[in-house]
Amino acid sequence: MRSVPQSVVEPASAQPEARRASDAVIAQPRRLMTYRAKEAAWAYLFLTPFFIGLVAFIVGPVVAAFAISFTSWDLLSPPVWIGLDNYREMAADSLFWTALGNTVYFTAVSVPLGLILALGLATLMNNKLPGIDLLRAIYFFPVTASIVAVSLLWAWMYTPNFGIINYMLSQVGLPAPSWLVDPKTAMPSIIIMSVWRGLGFNIVVFLAGLQSIPRDLHEAAQLDGAGEWNRFRKITLPLLTPTIFFATVMGLITSFQVFEQTYIMTQGGPGNATLTIVYDIFQNGFTFLRMGYASAMSFVLFAILFVITVIQVRLQTRWVHYA
């Protein structure tokens, strides 16, 4: 699922605690030895399902995907080793570049837009006002809603002729776009819907970050005559950078995997305007049964995500302040 911790520190307590337990049985060093070995054995037993899962569903498949990416394989006949041909084909495949471009477009707009909106709304919610819990629950609701149902709903609202969105725009005298039907507006439509769906998640994350900022910092600055905007810029924003970092990393990873919305709302169209990488992988793998080519593409997706994450972790020292 979605999740990357900002900083996970091994508990310093682990070792001293074990030692304390050993103090109690210090008179019997042999029993201690056997207990330690026993505890380790239990730990490995507890972790056995995870070890199996790690090999069968995580590390194994990733290694296999890498190997398959050098083959041509339709599952019906045995795989044929073709070296780098899949990667060469990808480099010349205009559809792949379109998909990559669309995915980057989606990410580059939806992530910053979603973060800024969520930050603004969370800041407003951070005032101790009655009814905030209810508002928070309302904003969070779309996060839990079925992506298929929500995609159908927005496809209906975006309908150019009878859609409620164009009706409301016409009421205030704004032009009525063709939304999903027009290649120019199709991706922005998907972006608006995706930002709407994910907003509550980032709001709750930011709200938690905001609530951890000590109030007396604000009060001290206020006494010194700092205005609201200055306090936001000089106190809130720097102290919130770990949360912003977390939300950015997560947002980039999830938005690079965008698929369901475009699958339901536009089938990648019109004219491939909303074809995304995962859609392209899905089609090659499971519609055209090109397992080798799909694996090669998925590995490129993985490489992109890996590089983006590494860059972000590197860059964080420049702007993220850990208290």
Binding site: S3, E10, P11, V62, N127, L135, I147, F256
Partner: protein, 279 residues
């Protein structure tokens, strides 16, 4: 009235105004979904659109129920999501307990492995997993969707580990000195204490599975075996979409989770944003 107080009141009024306008944007699409689900095609094509249906007509719901085995789709989704949840809870609480409370060589390294697997998207693994599942003869069954959950998920293990870290180690030590085994400690002491974490994780696992589209798309092909989310994705079809009808189907697919959300929204929110809150 003091000007400072007036200023405060204006400020709060403005904040409410913005927040309520935003909340309306979040919730109105769902009200529109419900409203549409009661209309007929004639009313849907009307201009200007009617905000409320002209008559409370349940025929869309009735038709769907007649034409498609909706109860079966809901049941399939429920079976898959429940068993996935069960598997996640068992495997993740066991692994999380070991990582938080037991001492063994390689613990820190293993925790790093758990964290790094969080970064591996499903899409990168899905082709080999599909091949694996087809070799096992599990295609077009619930197994590929359920069985992996019994082998742990990085998110769940991380969540449970963080929770178990918060329980004082003295509890474990005292029981061990009294002769309990680590499993006894886990089962009799730590598991009963971890109901909040298990609830949060259970909700996340259930919601994720219930709403999932990609994995069921890959593994399930028989209509009668489809979970509700996948079945719903087939309803749109070609040509002009029957919106009232689709909205009714969407309402049905969302109803079970909406009821659960109304009853326990706090758990949904805490579970689904857990890693953002605690480090």
């Amino acid at each position: 009235m003091h000007s400072a107080q007036t200023q405060r009141l204006t400020r709060h009024a403005l904040i409410y105004l913005v927040l309520i306008a935003g909340a309306a944007v979040m919730i109105m699409p769902f009200l529109w979904m419900i409203s549409t689900s009661f209309k007929d095609m004639g009313e849907v094509r009307a201009w200007p659109p009617t905000w409320l249906p002209q008559h409370l007509d349940l025929s869309n719901y009735h038709d769907i129920w007649q034409q498609y085995p909706m109860l079966l789709f809901l049941w399939n989704g429920f079976v898959i999501a429940s068993l996935t949840t069960l598997g996640t809870l068992i495997s993740c609480s066991l692994a999380g307990f070991a990582l938080a409370q037991l001492n063994f060589p390689g613990r820190s390294l293993l925790f790093l492995v758990v964290l790094s697997t969080l970064l591996l998207p499903y899409q990168v693994r899905m082709v080999p997993i599909f091949i694996e599942m087809s070799k096992l003869g599990w295609i077009d069954s619930f197994k590929p969707l359920i069985v992996p959950a019994f082998f742990g998920s990085a998110y769940g293990i991380f969540l449970m580990r963080q929770f178990f870290l918060g329980i004082p180690k003295e509890l474990k030590e005292a029981a061990i000195l009294d002769g309990a085994t680590p499993f006894g400690v886990f089962w009799n002491i730590f598991l009963p204490l971890s109901k909040p974490a298990l609830t949060a994780l259970g909700i996340v696992a259930f919601v994720t599975s219930w709403n999932d589209l990609l994995a069921p798309m890959i593994f399930i092909s028989t209509f009668e075996k489809m979970p509700i989310a996948l079945a719903l994705s087939f309803f749109k079809g070609q040509g002009e979409a029957l919106w009232p009808w689709l909205m009714a189907a969407s309402v049905i697919s969302m109803l079970p989770l909406v009821v659960a959300y109304l009853a326990a929204q706090r758990w949904f929110i805490e579970g689904m944003t857990f890693t953002g809150l605690k480090q």
